[in-house]
Symmetry: C2
Subunit: 238 residues, 2 copies
DNA sequence: TCGCGTTAATTTGTCTGATAACCTGACATA
DNA sequence: TATGTCAGGTTATCAGACAAATTAACGCGA
């Protein structure tokens, strides 16, 4: 039922190991939502370390959303359903990892375009068109060009009315943009810029028209074009 | 360029406030990857708190993947591209949030099915069939039935060969399953169980056959059926 | 001059003990 | 019953110290 919680592997800190140990102990004891953990002093005795280390370990579990602490009361197992979802990026972002990240992003962008075509509000359309307009200034740095690109996709995600799409697509686009900027900091982007603008305009038109099917197709074309632009081959079947 | 980092709002701990302050200061100073933060002693003086609080604040940033610390060397701004992606679940998982979570999951499951049909290995097929076989025991608790369901979807995600799909779909399915189990702990699931098994079998067959289009369709049918089973209406266009 | 151990200063990691802030349950009282 | 008070326990924060690791300067020999 419970998935392994990432984030405890790379670090070999004492507090990190104890956090992992503590988590295993919680699961082994079958502690569920609301169950109380032993006191810090007790845990310090059990593990044979100082209370400071125990506090750091519990703080890690708290940051993962696995436990909650209340001053004067204790530490309690948090509601697992409300635990934040975490996606670990690789330590070395090679081309393979980059392609896999793009592969994860693609279907979400396509679906977001379709949802946006269905649920867009007047305010959404204003935001999307504003983001599109930022592309019309022809001469800009690569940095601001990418920023405008991100803003367009963010506005689109917002138009889905689903905050998860906003959070996730924003985060994943941000990582991808970072990689692109780091890789090719000094590449002429003029023609690419214009092409990107055309693709964005097509997506925007489909969303304004409320045509989900066209929005999907336009987004697929945009992603395929973007992948090609950064030297990536992507199978966008269906 | 940089997205706001979630997770600092609800908690009013001193160390949490200082972590947020510290992060704002990093961004304001334009510190990029590899830049070194002031020493703990210095920060303790600056903020007028003890070193323990500073350590907890830095530990939070470290857990968010924003900084890295090396004993003897100092604390450094981490590579933003490698920062883990985090998706905050809502504090109260109402039906609306549940529907939105399902809406996020659906296109990823569909894409995963298509990717699995393309990239499945012999070992993948074995795992998927094994997960399918676990469904054949008719009499089980609702808990074990959901567990078998999760295992099937996990095996499918694994067959994509993309670890991001595994991580994300596992996590999101886990949350959804928790909600389902909590909501209807005591509901007869016999007919539903059989129906789920049929849908899984259809997906499995399409993947084994290497037919991505059929896998997509079968997964869409499965998700639509699952949504209906938990009393959710889902527009699965395209 | 260049390479290479050695050393000293700096910094994070851990330990110890203490105090403040807070929560919980028992108890007394009206 | 309802309420206020109190005592004990727990987490949050503070202060100081030592251990462990890194870094850079230094001296020395080739």
């Amino acid at each position: 039922m419970s998935a392994p919680v990432p984030g405890f592997a790379r670090n070999t800190q004492l507090s990190t190991r104890i956090a992992a140990h503590l988590l295993a102990q919680i699961e082994a004891d079958g502690l569920t939502t609301g169950a109380r953990l032993p006191t810090e002093a007790q845990l310090a005795r059990d593990f044979g370390v100082s209370r400071a280390v125990i506090r750091e370990a519990i703080a890690q579990l708290r940051n993962e959303g696995l436990v909650e602490t209340r001053q004067g009361a204790g530490a309690f197992v948090a509601d697992m359903a409300a635990r934040p979802i975490r996606l670990d990026a690789p330590q070395d972002m090679d081309s393979r990892a980059f392609q896999q990240l793009f592969q994860l992003r693609a279907p979400l962008e396509v679906e977001a375009a379709a949802l946006a075509a269905h649920h867009r509000s007047a305010a959404d359309i204003v935001r999307i068109k504003a983001a599109l307009a930022r592309f019309d200034q022809p001469e800009e740095s690569a940095d601001s060009s990418v920023a405008a690109d991100l803003e367009f996709h963010r506005a689109l995600a917002q138009a889905t009315g689903n905050p998860y799409f906003v959070q996730f697509l924003t985060a994943i686009s941000d990582r991808i943009a970072h990689v692109i900027l780091a890789a090719r900091a000094e590449t002429p982007l003029d023609a690419l810029h214009a092409q990107t603008r055309r693709e964005h305009a097509a997506i925007c038109a489909a969303i304004v028209a409320g045509d989900a099917r066209a929005a999907r197709a336009a987004m697929r074309a945009h992603l395929a074009g973007g992948a090609q632009r950064v030297g990536l081959q992507l199978d966008m079947s269906d």
